[in-house]
Symmetry: C2
Subunit: 322 residues, 2 copies
């Protein structure tokens, strides 16, 4: 009997060690994911060939945090500070003047127009390679004002496990984010294992130019594409050209992406991450100015989408040290 | 001695059987390709990790024929004929009136403006899924006016071997074509082994809409992006987000794509296919109204790009029956 007990314990332990999603509690969302993956990868009516196994992930609030501001906004502010010495005119010009004074709230008072103006001033006017280096340098040193962590340490451990699990099951994993496509690409492969060609995001226009015999791609201060809300299915269609099997988001900006994904024929999975863990991360939904989630909470469950409670369904939040 | 000869013959035969590019004659371009692949896949200073092994291919004139007109133009004309009964006004309206009368030369006399007008009339006004079906139906039945072949039988056997060879060596193969992205995607995977997410092309704008509870992507009669000349590096940057290692083209519309590719650091390969085989395919270059190749012939070799003579370097032209 003792032997049997030992054997059983060893078996359970081995099973746990093989759990591909160890940071997910054994609750409804985890089961929804693993059941779905098993279904589409097993011979039968719901089998899906590997080439069609596409999973799309929002980034801000889905793969990493987004409070108290989108991390790209911190990048913009840091860039304005760095560039300010070359722009004496900013001292008198909003929203730049407020940023330079450290008054980010006033800087953001101008709403979307002010944000786009600041984005253009900091994301355009250089070559693609120069911008890549600026982002790479920033992301490897800048720290979150509340946690003191590197931003790339604020990616969610359960989602990293999910990305790995899906890829191990033949899925191609894509980011589909309202954030800047070239803001994510320099680090998405290292941090998420997602190569640049599988990153979809908002973009500005660019221009091809040959300078002294050397071709460059120059970033222009003009919006090209906003990859948010209705833009997400459009971005998916443009970049991927087929409907995903699985979609993961956290805000109403992801609603159409989940709607488009889960309206496809055959098995589909939509999942919303609900930020309800004020202690370990942030708690916000219906009233939040960032990552507002209302329609998704009301309609998602009716449409069969899973809702992850970060508080109850995730054993840990942030990336575990390697 | 007889035994040795037999052994040698068997060895040569085995080697030939293992040749990944059997339709390529053992000439300079083939050696340039295989040397390059060996270099970047072998440990050493020129080694490139698989994730960075990107190869880009023009389509018209590089993977399949493009004479006497781009095959997509035949699609446009066939669509106009099919739609004409619903458009009595076309009888009086150029360029449609000429198409309906079978006078394609007059229809094309209006140049790019007329072509775009015809493209919009035939590529927009339906959902993405409806257009996918229209293309799929057409490509599986329409035949080339000169050869009588299905258009997908007019893909080049040597290039199919090259695609397979590169993928076997860890490359991701992309199409980067001036042709319509949604005109290529429905069949590129079946014919070339290139999935939709690795097809880059020209596009029109689209709109996300929910019709009676069912979301659709509606194709709009408005240009979004022209993936030709300077547009090719821009399209590569937008979709792939890193510089390719290898680029294959056949016309001056591919010049910037080869320039951008071969200007990258480390080993790069640019290759131009020269259509000089009037007997087995078509012969055209400097003076052609389609697939004009002049700058590439003059400057390509100075830049170290290989030039394939279809006549001398390819044992067969079109896809061999399977």
């Amino acid at each position: 009997m003792k032997l049997l007990t030992s054997l059983l314990a060893a078996l359970i332990s081995a099973a746990a060690a093989q759990d591909p999603l160890p940071s997910w509690n054994d609750a409804v969302p985890k089961k929804a994911i693993t059941d779905f993956v098993q279904k589409v990868t097993t011979a039968g009516t719901d089998f899906v060939p590997p080439a069609e196994r596409i999973a799309v992930f929002d980034n801000d609030g889905t793969l990493w945090s987004e409070q108290p501001m989108y991390f790209q906004a911190f990048f913009i502010f840091d860039r304005i500070m760095a560039l300010a010495p070359d722009h004496p005119e900013w001292a008198e010009k909003e929203p730049f003047a407020s940023v330079v004074k450290g008054d980010l709230k006033s800087a953001l008072a101008g709403g979307e127009k002010a944000l786009i103006e600041m984005a253009m001033a900091t994301h355009a006017g250089m070559t693609s390679e120069e911008f890549d280096k600026i982002v790479s340098d920033w992301i490897s040193t800048a720290r979150h004002p509340k946690t003191g962590k590197l931003y790339t340490e604020m990616v969610y451990q359960p989602m990293l496990e999910l990305l790995t699990y899906l890829r191990a099951n033949g899925f191609k994993t894509f980011i589909v984010s309202g954030g800047g496509i070239e803001f994510m690409r320099p680090w998405a492969e290292r941090v998420y294992g997602i190569p640049p060609e599988q990153v979809i995001g908002s973009s500005i226009k660019t221009k091809y130019e040959v300078r002294d015999g050397k071709p460059v791609i120059v970033r222009l201060p003009e919006l090209n594409f906003i990859d948010d809300k209705e833009g997400k299915p459009i971005g998916i269609h443009q970049h991927i050209g087929r409907r995903p099997l699985m979609a993961f988001g956290n805000s109403d900006g992801d609603f159409q992406m989940l709607e488009w994904t889960t309206s496809g024929k055959g098995p589909r999975l939509g999942l919303i991450i609900h930020h309800n863990d004020a202690e370990r991360e942030f708690a916000y939904d219906r009233e939040s100015h960032i990552g507002k989630l209302a329609k998704g909470l009301d309609e998602g469950p009716k449409r069969g989408w899973s809702v992850v409670s970060m508080k109850d369904d995730w054993q840990v939040i942030y990336r575990l040290a390697k």
